[in-house]
């Protein structure tokens, strides 16, 4: 059965891509059809609107969205790259970017950016740099995500605690978590989940540690371990459910169902939170409390062009348009995500007036870009198996973190050697 499904997937992917790519046609004649690869159905309506605006400007170019579910997006993309049926323009994330850039399958954009004066400087610098490889720009950010503190005002009121604000430190969070935990009603103060983007990285950076710097792992660093201990300690004390319990009902779901009073979560989740009536009514947002320093993690997606595309001129026109103010404003209005173009976020803020979304944008100032290297997945995959026990209340976070640091360094060494 396994072989059949694996084989089936591998065979079906290029076939499907080939079928849908058939209508594309070459440049000239009846115009050009670009394929645009993405994975998030929630963003599709916004993207359609941007495409409509783009097609109005460029009547001879049309763009068709190729939606691939997240779970198979990257395997499908890799396979279609080999088969030559990859979309002309597609979404890229930080984890995969360097692999694709180093693999030579992305079109360098630096020359185009210069020639057309594309407003890359209007996007957060940390994000723009995420999509440069060895001095060449390959992608232009379209949106960004920061991690903030989501809290439940009703649970705070019940416990008689002041709501979190910008003055909060880790001690305040711990005190509140202790107060808010109510074992009888199975409510926990905080969800110290084993999740790299939302919990581990923000905590490590907040403690003054780091994940990856100058090709070296930061997990063995004393400050980094302090950040990890900040999380596991709350599990050990019973203020957060253990990871074993959060496999089945993740922190986000526990926050939705009001079983967790505070949770670190992404700005991109605002739309989903907004759809939960209870949270729309009494969900609150604050900046992440301060550890040794202020920090959160920023990540954003970028639009890139396939080096194998035969419609690069049209593809660039589209990517250039996506990098501009007009497209960013349309995207922000759609509400699914924060546009990365500076000053266009108002529409997003207004799309959910009950939420204090501005905190997500404020945090940009001290946000740490999502760490990545050429083969990010390899060392990312080391994290959960090694840290799992410590996040399940079994202790041993110090030695687990040091082992992780050593193994990650070895993975990075191999990456450089290859």
């Amino acid at each position: 059965m396994r072989r059949r499904t694996l084989l089936g997937g591998a065979l079906a992917a290029p076939l499907l891509a080939a079928c849908s790519g058939g209508g594309g046609g070459a440049d000239g004649g009846g115009g050009t059809t670009l394929s645009y690869g993405m994975w998030d159905p929630a963003q599709a309506p916004g993207m359609e609107k941007i495409i409509a605006a783009f097609e109005e400007r460029h009547p001879r170019i049309s763009v068709r969205i190729e939606l691939t579910p997240w779970a198979s997006y990257w395997t499908t993309l890799k396979t279609s790259m080999r088969g030559g049926t990859a979309p002309d323009v597609f979404w890229m994330n930080a984890v995969n970017f360097q692999l694709y850039a180093a693999g030579g399958v992305l079109e360098p954009l630096s020359g185009h950016i210069e020639a057309d004066a594309t407003p890359v400087d209007h996007h957060p610098d940390s994000l723009v740099r995420l999509y440069a490889y060895r001095g060449t720009q390959y992608g232009i950010p379209k949106d960004f995500d920061t991690v903030g503190l989501w809290y439940n005002k009703a649970l705070f009121d019940k416990a008689g605690i002041k709501y979190p604000d910008a003055s909060w430190t880790w001690d305040d969070l711990r005190d509140a978590a202790a107060e808010l935990t109510d074992p009888r009603r199975r409510v926990h103060g905080f969800a110290a989940e084993m999740d790299r983007q939302m919990k581990i990285y923000p905590a490590v950076c907040g403690a003054g540690g780091f994940i990856l710097e100058d090709g070296r792992s930061g997990f063995g660093d004393e400050r980094s371990i302090e950040g990890l201990r900040f999380l596991t300690d709350m599990i050990d004390r019973g203020w957060s459910p253990p990871q074993s319990a959060m496999v089945e009902s993740v922190g986000r779901v526990r926050y939705w169902s009001e079983k967790v009073a505070m949770n670190y979560d992404l700005s991109a989740m605002a739309g989903q939170m907004y759809a939960v009536p209870a949270l729309k009514d009494h969900g609150g947002i604050a900046v992440l409390p301060k550890g040794r320093r202020r920090a959160t993690i920023i990540h954003g997606l970028a639009n890139v062009i396939s080096a194998k595309s035969r419609k690069k001129a049209a593809a660039w026109k589209f990517v250039h348009f996506m990098a501009g103010r007009e497209a960013a404003e349309i995207q922000a209005k759609a509400g699914a995500t924060i546009s990365s173009y500076a000053g266009t976020q108002d529409a997003w803020l207004k799309s959910m007036p009950e939420f204090d979304l501005k905190h997500f944008i404020e945090m940009q100032k001290y946000a740490v870009p999502y760490p990545s290297s050429e083969n990010t997945a390899v060392w990312e995959n080391l994290q959960y198996p090694l840290l799992g026990a410590a996040f399940s209340g079994k202790g041993g976070i110090e030695s687990a973190a040091r082992t992780l640091g050593e193994q990650m360094d070895r993975a990075l060494e191999e990456e450089r050697a290859s």
Binding site: M1, R2, R3, T5, L6, T75, K78, M81, R82, L99, Y100, G103, G104, V105, E193, M194, D195, Q243, S244, A245, M246, V247, E248, S249, N375, A377, V378, N381, Y384, P385, G388, A389, F391, S392, S418
Partner: protein
């Protein structure tokens, strides 16, 4: 359904027939084999050769490969997660084999004369096997769920504390193993029922006249005469368990703290090949797993002489 003796017999018969009318008969035979042979060559044998070749290369994420000799094999042998996955996989085979005695007992119970509704029972037992592993995994995950699961709900009536069955490293392997046995028992049941049907009724009648009880009849007639079928089933069972992947993939989330304790060899292969872009090393791992399966199957064939009766 004594598969092996009959194939052995037909092989012998074929040999004598072939020597008699060699040229024409053989050509026709090859013609008949061709469709299957071609499919085998294109979809199994060629990929096998390719995998073998790629196991000596470093495979680029976007195509292209460079020959690196035996580095991949060294990596496989040195990696502790490989040995852990191998241990888990062998453990799954052991658990998987427990489906056989269960199936034999149920099969002999269902083969009692005068039992009504055999088809219904057979269907009930067979349904888990024909259900998609994805669906099976999802449903069992709900049963095992620590917060709202039926299992905890039932156990709580007896005062057992809430437990996170699939995310506690000490129980996760057993939780998965149980589902494996549950979903494969029906398959072996069908095989064993057919096997028992092949045992002549006279034997049982004669034994009954001689005063043998039900248990005695089971151990002295059913079991020995079923042994060729049991052998066939155990070979299949072992191969299936060693290749286990889909159920674990569905049941074990990425952030599950028990993931290291439950990962199978094929699961590790998947991770290397499709997530970590180490296709060369993954090919080496797959090839070593194939060798292991071949070796264990050979061992089973050698050992069968000691316990299989070809009545």
């Amino acid at each position: 359904m004594s598969v092996f003796p009959s194939t052995a017999a037909s092989k012998a018969a074929g040999r004598t027939a072939a020597t008699r009318s060699k040229p024409r008969g053989q050509r026709t035979a090859y013609l008949f084999i061709a469709p299957l042979g071609l499919g085998f060559a294109v979809f199994y044998f060629w990929p096998l050769l390719q995998t073998f070749y790629f196991s000596f290369t470093e495979f680029g994420a976007f195509g292209g490969h460079t020959f690196i000799g035996t580095d991949n094999y060294l990596r496989v042998v040195k990696d502790v997660t490989v040995w852990q996955a191998l241990g888990n996989t062998l453990f799954y085979s052991l658990i998987g084999l427990t489906a056989l005695p269960v199936a034999i007992v149920v099969a002999s119970l269902l083969n009692r004369r005068g039992l009504r509704g055999v088809a219904v029972y057979r269907a009930l037992y067979f349904v888990p096997f024909v259900t998609l592993p994805v669906a099976v995994g999802l449903v069992w995950n709900w049963l095992y769920n620590g917060d709202f699961g039926l299992l905890n709900e039932m156990l709580s009536r007896f005062g057992v504390d809430r437990h996170y069955w699939v995310s506690d490293p000490s129980t996760a392997v057993y939780a998965i193993g149980t589902v494996m046995v549950w979903s494969s028992t029906g398959y072996y049941l069908i095989i064993f029922m057919a096997g028992i049907k092949g045992i002549p009724r006279d034997y049982y009648e004669a034994a009954e006249i001689d005063g043998a009880g039900a248990l005695r009849r089971f151990f002295t007639i059913t079991l020995p005469l079923l042994s060729p079928t049991i052998f066939f089933a155990s070979v299949i069972c072992m191969i299936n368990s060693l290749q286990t992947f889909d159920l674990i993939y569905i049941m074990m989330a990425e952030k599950n703290p028990a993931i290291g304790d439950t990962q199978s060899v094929v699961g590790l292969f998947y991770k290397w090949a499709f997530i970590e872009n180490a296709q060369g090393a993954a090919a080496a791992l797959a090839f070593l797993l194939m060798l292991l399966i071949a070796a264990l199957t050979y061992l089973q064939f050698r050992l069968q002489k000691r316990w299989v009766h070809y009545g």
